[in-house]
């Protein structure tokens, strides 16, 4: 693996997602504290989660985010997924700046362009595996028959054809994560975001999930965050974060 290459050197089509010099500052404290601060009695306690980080991901590419806990990996992922807005800098998903969108439009953008795989799966416990996978298609107005077919196909693709009608509580951690991957792919998004996708899994199951993510990246961009070297090994490029700032990059041209 090439180490410490320069910035992203893609010269082809524009990236699926681009974060340019993004910072994210959280203001902490109670409402009373906020009032006190407004009255100038105390300074605002600020936590800088990200400080001027930049990253891009192109179609067919897996970009890894590494760094210790509290380095800003998850915050950067949330910004790239459009779940949060940067305090400064800009994030564009398929050339659409997320800061220019209303909450409703950002949700729609996520529905159409972003698939998210969470460390703790976050499947809806009352729904079957197939219903969990098909849920985003309900929002898109896809017919029930097509939803069922598409969800079943994806569950077959991740090797869960015999778990279609099982609920999350009846599935192992690895199976749940594969259901989550199938859900992330159901709308055929251009970008897949994965936050510690193997964090809750044993080594063998984690390898299975990683091979699914590698397959997923063939025709879309994947950004995954992990502090596990084995997980990051599937990445084409890795961006290292520390204290909210990019401190190193390796891989790529």
């Amino acid at each position: 693996m090439a180490v410490r290459s320069g910035q992203e050197a893609h010269t082809g089509p524009p990236p699926v997602v681009r974060a340019t010099d993004v910072s994210k500052i959280y203001i902490r404290g109670s409402k009373r504290g906020r009032l006190s601060r407004l009255l100038g009695r105390s300074p605002a306690p600020r936590v800088t989660a990200l400080d001027g980080a930049s990253v891009t991901a192109h179609r067919g590419e897996i970009v890894g985010l590494s760094g210790p806990s509290g380095s800003g990996k998850s915050t950067l992922l949330h910004l790239l997924a459009g779940l949060e807005l940067p305090t400064s800098g800009a994030v564009s998903i398929q050339n659409t700046p997320t800061s220019s969108l209303s909450e409703r439009k950002r949700t729609r953008l996520r529905l159409e362009s972003v698939g998210i795989v969470f460390q703790q799966f976050h499947l809806l416990p009352s729904l079957t595996a197939r219903a969990n996978v098909a849920l985003p298609l309900v929002e898109l107005g896809v017919s029930k028959r097509k939803r069922r077919r598409r969800a079943t196909d994806l569950l077959e693709r991740v090797g869960l054809e015999d778990r279609v009608t099982h609920r999350p509580g009846e599935l192992s951690g690895g199976e749940q994560q594969r259901v989550a991957i199938a859900r992330a792919l159901v709308t055929d998004p251009a970008l897949v975001i994965a936050d510690e996708p193997t964090g809750e899994l044993d080594t063998k199951t984690g390898q299975r999930v990683l091979s699914e993510l590698t397959a997923v990246a063939e025709d879309r961009a994947v950004v995954l965050a992990s502090h596990n070297d084995q997980t990051l090994a599937i990445a084409d490029r890795v961006v290292c974060l520390r204290d909210g700032a990019v401190v190193d990059r390796y891989g790529g041209d």
């Binding site: 949700t107 729609r108 529905l111 159409e112 972003v114 969470f118 809806l124 985003p136 309900v138 929002e139």
Partner: protein, 368 residues
């Protein structure tokens, strides 16, 4: 969700039981013969109960008119009814008893659940014959007075009555202590003999055509069939209406507060799920819709369970009271009460929705 279903079910079950009890009480307070098909009551009669008829309009010349009614083709039996609550004394016992004056005849078998056959037919005292002093006691009255057949009793200070029979059989009046006497003799005791007065007529017939003729007996009267009287009393009686209305309002308020509180807490507890839905692209509108559907289905399910519990409760009440008081039924058991319960549950769900929508909007979004 189970808590919501249970909470709504309890509120609806109580509503159904109280409403059934209210309607049941409203429809069981009429003095009637078990085989009677029509009542002739003074116009506007529906707004009072014969049990508390003091001062209400009455019919006059009832013996004469009773003979006219009996002559109508198709009429099997008829008697005027005069009711008074009177003090009856026997030995050291002194109780207020519902005393009903009737004209005995072969067709008039039971009045207010008490056998009228032991009374000499055709009210002899009215026709100038001797005072009979006959009195038939219900089981309850007999027990209160410790009087049995052949004992002498004093009715409203008149000592010339003797117990002709004691009827232990349960009837429509259940355990209400009741006594049957000759109509003219009760009129004499109460001063209603001057105009030969009574409160109502009960007429037994199998021919619906007689209703028209019955209406001509008195100008200001209403002829009601059993169903009409029940409906009339149910609608006109204020107490059961107040009871049912109170139960409705309390169920609505308690049910709504319960659903709002528990579902609100559930929404807060399910914040992660809502955030997940937002993350995967489900709009707030869809989440609100989901909350609405979930709330309505939960409350309707609670309504169905509650209605079934309420109807079962009515059966239990009737069974329990029947064993203790030998009454056929106190609370009304009708499938429509179940429909009513489900409808009220649906209203509870609808009333809860605005707050839950606001809660969902507030909690939705963010990072799971």
């Amino acid at each position: 969700m189970q808590f919501n279903v249970l909470g709504v079910a309890v509120a609806i079950a109580l509503l159904v039981m109280v409403t059934g009890l209210g309607i049941g009480l409203a429809t069981e307070t009429t003095v009637y013969d078990d085989d009677i098909d029509y009542w002739i009551v003074p116009a506007g009669e529906g707004d009072r109960s014969p049990l508390v008829a003091t001062g209400s309009p009455q019919f006059g010349d009832v013996h004469e008119r009773n003979a006219e009614i009996a002559a109508i083709e198709g009429v099997d039996s008829t008697t005027p009814i005069l009711t008074e609550v009177a003090r009856i004394e026997h030995g050291s016992h002194s109780e207020f008893i519902l005393v009903i004056g009737v004209i005995g005849s072969p067709g008039v078998d039971r009045v207010a659940g008490v056998d009228a056959q032991p009374l000499t037919a055709d009210d002899p005292y009215y026709h100038g014959e001797d005072w009979t002093g006959e009195i038939v006691l219900s089981g309850g009255a007999s027990s209160l007075l410790s009087a049995s057949s052949g004992d002498s009793v004093t009715v409203s200070g008149n000592e010339s009555f003797a117990v002709t029979a004691v009827d232990d059989g349960g009837g429509s009046m259940g355990e209400v202590p009741t006594a049957l006497v000759q109509l003219s003799e009760l009129q004499t005791l109460t001063g209603a003999d001057g105009s030969d007065q009574a409160d109502q007529f009960v007429v037994g017939t199998n021919d619906p055509a007689v209703a028209e003729e019955l209406e001509t007996v008195y100008e200001s009267s209403s002829v009601l069939s059993r169903g009409e009287l029940t409906a009339s009393q149910t609608l006109d009686s204020d107490l059961p209406l107040a009871l049912a209305l109170t139960a409705f309002i309390i169920s609505l308020v308690i049910g709504t507060l319960f659903v709002v509180t528990t579902t609100g807490l559930e929404i807060v507890a399910d914040k992660t799920q809502l955030a997940t839905m937002s993350a995967i692209g489900l709009s707030t509108r869809s989440q609100v819709t989901l909350t609405g559907v979930q709330t309505l289905s939960t409350t309707v399910l609670g309504g169905i369970v509650g209605s079934l519990l309420g109807l079962a409760g009515i059966l239990a009440i009737n069974e329990g009271i029947g064993r203790v008081l030998t009454v056929d039924s106190v609370a009304l058991f009708h499938p429509l009460l179940g429909v009513y319960g489900v409808a009220v549950a649906l209203i509870i769900g609808l009333l809860s929705l605005p707050y839950l929508f606001v809660m969902t909007r507030r909690v939705s979004g963010g990072v799971p």
